[in-house]
Structure formats: C-alpha cells, structure tokens
Amino acid sequence: MKNRSLKFITFTLLVFVTLFTVVSCKRDLDDLEPATFPTTAEVFIDGFSAGLNYGAFGGSKVTAFDVDSEEKYKGTASMKFAVPDAGDPQGAYAGGAYFTSVGRDLSGYDALTFWAKASKAATIDVVGFGNDFGESRFQTVLRDVKVNTNWQKFIIPIPDASKLTQERGMFFYSEGPESGLGYTFWIDEVTFENLGTLAHPRAAILDGQDQEFLVETGQTLNIGGTKAIFNLPTGVDQSVDAAPSYFTFSSSNPSVASVSSTGAVSIVDAGSAVITAKLGDQDAAGSMTVGSTGQAVGPQAPAPTPTVDADSVISMFCNAYNNVPIDTWNTGWQFSTAELLDIQIAGDDVKRYRMLNFVGIEFASQTINASAMTHFHLDIWTPDATALPAAFKVLLVDFGANGVFDGGDDSSHELSFSSPLLQTGQWVGIDVPLSNFTGLVNKGHLAQLVLSGDLPNVYVDNVYFYKSGSVVTTGPTVAAPVPTRNPADVISIFSDAYTNAAGTDFNPNWGQATVVSQVPVAGNNTLLYSGLNYQGTQLGSNLDVSSMTHLHLDVWTNNSSALSVFLISPGPIETPSVLTVPTSGWASVDIPLSSFSPVDLANIIQFKFDGNGDIYLDNIYFYKPGSGGGTTPTTAAPTPTFNAANVISIFSDAYTNVAGSDLNPNWGQATIVTQEPIAGNNTLVYTGLNYQGLQLGSNQNVSGMTNLHLDFWTANATALKVFLISPGPIETPYTLTVPTSGWSSVDIPLTAFAPVDLTNVIQFKFEGDGKIYLDNILFHN
C-alpha cells in the first residue's frame, strides 16, 4: 500500500508540473487555488494557541489579564481578568483583544464557546470575537454576560461562518467595575466549535424595527442594530451584535438611496427607497425607509460678515470672532423635533435647523455675562414662507446669580419677529437691544437661547451679543430720516413708515452678483446691497404711479463710485436716474417721475439699481404733494386772541412765556426737536416723534385756568397724545386727532387731566409718531 501511494503522488506531481509548464504562459486567475488559512479552532485551552497575540484596549488597565494556573475549568491554566475598582489610576476597566497576525479559516465552525466563572455574581459588559484592532469587519459581540461563582459554558454563535475565511480576531472582552467595585473573572477552554445544535437563525437590522427617515440629497445614514439571533441548545434564543459586513444590504430604489456593504446609506436624489438586508439567506427583520426631499434649499452666499469691533462682542457662533463655549446647539428637549446640521456655505460655518418647532441652545456650564452688552444679534435665512402671521421667536434665559436652572432667580424673555423683517430666501439680520427683552431681569448668567416659531427650516449664523456705539463705520449708524409725508399721498415700496406694496421680491434672480439682505440700522429695517453690480426689484403687482410726482429714496454709501436707479415698465422700457455717490451720511433723494420718461408710469413693474459698492437704501416710495400743502405748513398757526391777563403761556410768539423752560430735556427720547419759522412765526417741530418732554422753567399753578390751548399740524402722524405732569409724577394723557388738515387748534378742559395737581404743573409730554408742528401752547380761562 505504501509504495503504491508514493508512486501515485509522484506521478500526479509530474503531470501537474508538465501541465503547469504548458499553460503558464496564459495563466488565468480563476484557475488559481485560493490561499488556504489554518483552521485551528483553539484560542485558549491551557495557554495561547499558535500565533495568538494579546493587546489591551486604550484606557484599560493593561495588567488586568493574566494566565492563572490555580483556577481553571479544565487542564492546567485559565485566563484571569482582574477588573479594577472605579478610580484605579492604572485604568478604568479591563479590556483587550486576542488576535492572530495570519488569519484563520473559521468557516467550518458555528460558534465560539468558552467556560467562565467569577469571584462574585456579575455581568460582563462585552465578550466576542472578530476584533482584529483593524477594520474588525466581522466583529461579533455578546453583551451582558451573566457569570457567577460556578463554571458555566457560554456560546457565541457565528452569524455567518462562510464570511470567516481569514479571520484574525479570535476573542475580546471589556468589563468595568460593578457598582464601583472591581472583581475577578476567569475564562477557560476558548475555542471555535461546530456544535450543530444551534437552530432557527434569524437576523435583524435597526433592532428589527421598520424605521422611517426624512432625508435629503447628500445625507448619509448608517444602519445599526445589526443582530443575529440563534436558538441555543438550551432552547432559549441568544442575540449577538453582528457587524454590518456580515449582511448583504439592498435598496429598493438605488437612484434615490444607495447602500454600501457596511450599511452606509447615501441619499442621491429625491424620492423614497426601502433598505433591507439579508444575513446569509435569511431575510433580516427591520427596514429603513427613507423619504428624500432632494437637494436642500439653502443660502448660496454666507450671511454678511459682522462689522462690530471684536472687543465689543461676546460671540456664540461666528467665524469672524472667537466664540465662547456652547454646550449644545440642540438640547434635544422633549417634543422638540429639530434636527441640527453643521454646514458650510462658501467656507462660512452655518448652523442649519430642520423640522424646527423649537430648539434649545444651552451654555449653562459656562454662562454668558452680557451685562455690559446692549444688543443681541443673529442672522437667519429660511426657504419657508414668511408672510404674516408667520413668526420667528427668540427666547433668552438667564439662570440668575446661582448660575443654575430654577432656584427662584431665573429670568427670561421671548421676542417674536415677523414680516417685513422676516424674508424668504434672504439673510435677515435680527438685531435687537437687550432692553427689548423686558422680562430678562438679569443678564449676568445667560444660559439658554431658544429658537422657535413657524419656520421649520432655518439657517443661523453670526449669533452674538455686542455693545452698540462700537460699530465700525462701514455702514450707517443712524436710521434714514423718518418720512413725514401723509400716507394718503404715498405709494411705498420699502419703508417702515408706511404700508408697503404687497408681494415685492427684493431679490429676483436676474443673474446678479449682488448680495441682498435686510439689516436693522438703529432699529430701522434697511435694505443693503453688498457688492452691487446690478440688482432688480420685482413688484408684487403692476403699479400705477401716474398720479404721483416723485420717487423718493434714502441712500447711504461710503464706498460706491457709481449708482443709478431705473424705473421699468413692460417692454421693458427702462430709464436710469443717476444718484450722487458716495454720500455724506444719509442722502434723501426726490426724483421727478417725469425724468424717467418714456417709462409708462401707469404700469411700473420693476426697479433696477446698477453701480458698485455697498449701498444702504430705505424709504423707497412714490409720492405727490400733500393735499394740505405738503409736509410743511405753509401758513403760521392762527394767532391766539385770549386776553393776556387770562393766559399763562408756555410757547407762543403772542404772549410772554414762562421763563426758563427746557424744550428738549433728555428723557432718552429719539425725537428730534427744532424750532422753525413758519411764515415768520416761530414753531416747535418734533421730527420722528416717539415721545418728547417739555420741562417748565418753574412750577406753575394753573388751577385758576380752565383750558389748555395748543395749535398743531401734522401730515403723517398716526397717533398723538399730550400729557400734563405734576410731581409724583402724576400724568394724564389727552388724545389729539391726527393727521391734521391744516392747523388744528384745541382747547382742552383742564379737568380732563385729573388727577394731575393743577396747582403744581411741572412738565408736558407728547407721545406719538411722525413729524409734528406745535405752536401757542398755553393755559387760559
């Protein structure tokens, strides 16, 4: 028998060599036998099996593992693992992997088995195989392994052995202290086996759940929760975490979502797709359904770079400044559906929120002291509809002196913003005085910012607090002058002072390079063209301005060398009007509409600006001369005819006035106070009234008088009240009818000002808006 065998081998070798020689010139890769790897089953029986190495995991106590010849299940030795106590300076846990440098062919086995016991009943966090300190493509993990003081056999089923033709990861473990205390466990007889008694293989992805995701093009999602489940020889099921590489993934619609061999799902287009998987020939339970909305709609250009000096800023999020630490830009509070994506637009970092109902932004671990700051700023961009009543809300929360939530010293305030500040498809600067957050009593321990409202998609940039007065003068620091024309004489396109024509698109895509935004300047919304080449404005509907005489606009620029404005009627017929640039402060321009000829004034559809530089624009409107003679009274107030003996006069050319009155005491108002001669008669003028005081030169006893008289004229006020004030202060308003048609003269019974002390009147106050002309302010009987 022996001889015959030898002969046979020799013979076949010869044949093989001959054959090989003949065909070697055109060797086909398919003809090559695959390299074979050892099928060694043993990992640790009484010592390391052939080629086995050990490495401890990072952060673990590297001396946790040792070979123990005292305690063992069988043979002469076991593996001993000394789990450290919590706080052990040498490492927080015991963990490591046993691996070979040459892979083994484990495809003939169905499980890794081992015996284990411990110094006390405990739950080992993780044991498994397939960790090769590299890709660990076929890592298989058994979690929460309950051990006790008796030796027990454990089985880790191989999810799909056909994959393990050159596996290097033989065994690994990781276990931390139990309730802060270390202990010891032993593992012995670690070996791969072909048990044959594992049954009913099942598989799952996403932990067996059918999950749905709203996604968009460019997103990548990873399929986790990949499990293999087998019934053990004890009749109970055992689930192991099987690395995604064991699975074969497929997409129902690869043109919407593709899936890699490691379960990475890439969204490539709009539509829906279902990702499913197989483990071997088993369909895995669970699926990922993706509904893709396609390419996200977002800003093409970054938000305008802030111009506030860095020394005057506490920045939360802005590439132009150093930012303070923020704990999170999405606290994930209950009921919040907001998703946060950190994106870049032309190199500028932007926070993008999707499905925003509300989102918490928290900086509680290092609260912000904004006591020295005056304003809060953020820029937002939304693709969503911003027409009223859509609102965007900003809530600031201060945790108070104790620096923690609650404790009775928290304060907060929410502000709501809406159209026309909010705009669709444009960067909008929200720039508000901190004093507007009236409920925010303290600003020394700001800890939360909450964004909410009706815009599910919001891009956020340049979130910072700043101290005003420190704006670098690249833009206007004061608002454009408030228009004073009677609204009845005006067709407004862009102005806070009037109701604007509806539906205007301030940034139609005409291929321009100009960046359009709306920025608040001293609280007044202003249109900014940054880097103007040309820029259109599309009116919401055709305008008939043939009854108007002028186009008004306020313009501010310190870097433009050319600027023209065009009116456009269908055709298109367009005519430019050249504006003088740069400006010295705000320039108010009133252009006769006749100069735009031959544009059809009955059918204006568009504006256009061309030129260069950064242009601030405001109060763009058409007007005609006011029916009451324009914006300025052309006649003097009627001269009063009261007997001087029965008069105490405050402001009148007709009488001797109370001496020493201050017509413009500083009460923090915005009103501009001047005195102007109207037809030779000195008149008190309040421009841009918000409120205005008048401090009498001495306390006046007017109890002998019956009426307060005053003459007033306004073309554009929508509200006006006058107050008498006595110490306390006790003050009572009286409402005046505005706007006026010519001069209005009123004689207000002093009883209307009760409970003001008429024996001791010290001040007047006016509240309202617009431009007010006043004269003949006096008491009489």
Binding site: N194, G196, T197, A199, H200, P233, G235, V236, D237
Partner: protein, 279 residues
Amino acid sequence: MKLKNLLLTASTISFALFFLFVSCQNDDNAIVQRTWQLVWEDDFNGNPGQSPDASKWIYDIGVGPGNDGWGNSELQYYTDQPGNVSLDGSGNLAITARSESFGGRGFTSARIKTQGQFDQAYGRFEARMKMPWGPGIWPAFWMLGSNINEVSWPQCGEIDIMEYRGQQPNLIYGTLHGPGYSGGASITKGYGFENDRFDKDFHLFAVEWGVDYIDFFVDETLYQRLTPDDVPGEWVYDQPFFMILNIAVGGNYVGFPTPQTPFPQTMLVDYVKVYKEAN
C-alpha cells in the same frame, strides 16, 4: 405522559445506557425484517386553517377532567381552535402553543386523539414530525389503552412513542407506563443527537409492537426494545390502543416555561401512519 415526578433521574440513567448501546451494537436489538401493511393514515393534506379530519381525530378540551392540568400540572388550556390546531396548507398538521390568556390559563394549545375513531393492537405506529422548542414546551406522540374508561390509568397502559422537552432540543424519549411502573417509575429511554436537534427538520418517530415486545425507533434507528421482562409489573400491551398528539406547556415533566421561551411554538406533523404485520 401522566405522573412522572421521578422521571428525571430515570431518564438520566437511560440516557447513559443509550450511549452505551450505540457504541456496542447490542445484538438483542437487531432489527428483524418485517413486512408492514398500511391500515390507517392521515397525511394532513388540505387547506391552511382547516381543522383535522373529524372522522379520524377528536379533541381533548380544557384543563383535564380533574381540573389539574391533565394530571401533570400542565399550564395550557386545550382548544379546538384553528389557531391551536389546523392544517398548514403544505401537507402538515400544525399544533401551536400560544402565550395567551384563555379559560383561566396563561397558554393555549391543542391535544387531538383517535379515541373512538381508530385503535389497534400490535403493528407499526409512526409519525413524521418537526418539534417546537423552548423551555417548558412538551410535545408528544403517544398511545393509551382503549379500555382506559373501564380499567383506568395506568392499568390501561401507555406507550409514549415520542416525548421531548423544549430545553433539550437534541433529545427525545420513548416510554412505557403500566401498573406498577407509571409516572416517575415508568420504563423509559432517551435518544439524542450529538450535533443536531429535533426542531431543525422532520424526523420519523415509530414503535413496532408485537406480542411480548415493543421496539422504539427514531428514523431508521432502533434505540429501545422493551419486553415483559423489562417491566416490573403486568405487561398490558395486548389489546387495542388509540393515538394522541399534543403540545403541553409546563408541567411536572418539563418544568415551567421561562420569559426566554419563544412563543408561539408549533409542532408540525407531516403524517401519521399505522400498519399491521402482513402474513
């Protein structure tokens, strides 16, 4: 199938014996060639959800005449509902144990029998079946003496062609209960796979019963022959017996199901056939 408190010990011993038998090829148990003639069968062909043939099978319903879990503290309530017993449409009978509250019990299942429809003394009785699994699951294919209502159990005799515990899915048992050797004192032997299980595929379970012998088979393997010499009491296997198929949940023999027991659990029966020896 009835009272088996001490069976665990007995089966452990017989299991050990079985391995001995396999290794030494006991000539006493050599298979004698016989010619069998089919006299009764049900191949369970039919539509899914259909109840088993009423001319062949009747139901045991409820928790047993003594309200004691059929004498074994079994936990299930037996029903005749298709959810517990029906054809699967693929040529099998499906008996399904479910974890659901019914009739005051936490589980439902089914037990069907040929009592009053068919019985026979001697011959070959076989069923091709695939087992359920999980701790506390106790399926069986077994027979009782048709005179049970006259002489009662265990005088009537019981032949357990196949019993199985869901926590040991690689083992089955063949057992005789009779007067003086019932319950824990029954005569039993296990047959096991080293690298396989009875719930992974179908297997054929059979007895061949003649005058003064009963041979127990799994597939082609005879693993136990019992004769009057092997029983410590009367040999009562000389009169007709009827067949029973069921899954019990819990009970003295198998122990409680655990939270890890997967439910529902189904036993599939491809066919049941009965032969007599041809002359």
